[in-house]
Amino acid sequence: MNVFADAVAWIFSPDRLTGALPLPEAIWTHLAFTFVAVLIAAAVAIPAGWAIGHTGRGREIAVALSGAARAVPSFGLVLLLVLVLGVTHKVAASVTAFVLLAIPPILAGAYAGVEAVERRVVDGARSVGMTGRQVLFKAEVPLGLPLLIGGLRSATLQVVATVTLAGYVGNWGLGFYIVQGIQIRDFSQILGAALLIVVLAVVLDALFAILQRVVVPRGVAAGRAPDDAPARRRRRLPDPTTA
């Protein structure tokens, strides 16, 4: 436990407010990198995912591309982009790498959400005279929201953990302390920074969990977040002992 006590002492030491990267600034830049990357990725991946889910076209390409993108090592990508874009564009290079990391889960969430909407619902919407656009935005998108938020949730988690790599190329994020701590063998510093990243990840995940519940349209059980669906189904099964 001593190690953790030292790490916590490191976090709350007054020295954290001075130096090349004060701790509040590290947390702020860490979150800023995360949000900017997820927002850009969402702006690209959500419309694309809805289009794929609605039309059913391009699904194979999207699956292949996002699958391949998951295999790209982020660390190599950050350093490569810094060298390609030049050292004066380090922020753009790092954000690009994180955006590429965030796109696959968001894309998957967007098209899977739309695709998973029951055929009868879509047919029903069409039969009351909705146009294709209305079917998408009034039926498919709201019903697919829980899965889309799930995609955003896993993208945010991956990015908040990976933004650590920004510390390799500049005074940004909590990764700076880890990179520095490894070299100076300051293990309380490494652990302290790592714990803060865990805290950020847990807090963000909790926010998304709440959001995921909130966006479920009223009266829709099928659209519930995947993790509480099995529990409900099991409860509805007839009890074999009384049957």
Binding site: G19, A20, V87, G167, V169, N171, F176, Q180, Q183, D186
Partner: protein, 297 residues
Amino acid sequence: MRTTRRSALVATAATAVLALGACSGSDPLDGGSASSDAIVVGSQAYYSNEIIAEIYAQALEAEGFTVERNFSIGQRDAYMPALEDGEVQLFPEYTGNLLQFFDPDATATSPEDVYAALQEALPDGLTVLDQSSATDQDSYNVTESFATENDLTSIADLADLDVPLTLGGPAELEQRPYGPQGLKDVYGVDVSFVATGDTTVQDLVAGTVNVANVFSADPRIQTENLVTLEDPEGLFLASNVVPLVNADLADEIADVINPVSAALTPEGLVALNVQSTEEQRSSADIAADWLAENGLA
């Protein structure tokens, strides 16, 4: 059926645990096939260090020793336990950085003082042979135009500048004794610090920083026209190339390795590095040529 499946699962899990156990049990630094009389030469994961290690290895082979190479082990934390255990027996090192590893509060800065302090600080079972005049140490560099514009030759000249100074270097420089705090204490120079990681030289050339920490044997000091600022107050520890060797082996190989250290000059080390970074030659070829040129093989 259910029990069969469960026992299959248990068996799989047990196999996985055993496999993991086997992984953690085997030592990645253990050469395994090493015959007992082979000398194991190690090197850092740093091209310049590997060239020197290759020179040691080939020089020993020329004298009839059996050598096993264990290169690119990583940084000091990774390989020092292997040296202390005797799994690796010869390693090219740098006096100042090595001294700081064993004695973080070391105050010596001149090559002789550092070498003497290092011999004191080394753990039992390890010793160093003669140090070379070749150095590969931290140094502060500016671009040629920045130096001419502001008439800079020494770190002390930085104190009189009106321009805000930004120091670039690896993240850990901020905490090193020769980092921003050292600059202020020794020379009265105020700098802000930016971690530039692996792109320090590119950052200096691009102007995102105006003072950069570069290793003195880095060929880019020449190719990028950088000016290394003199260090009259001895802010940096001298860091000469030195063979770190298992004490049991020291007398046996001293006659082979000491002439190598004597022949290796600062300019010579830069030239070796240039062959690696500019001409992309393998360390084995570079080492063979160097030994032939110096009549050591």
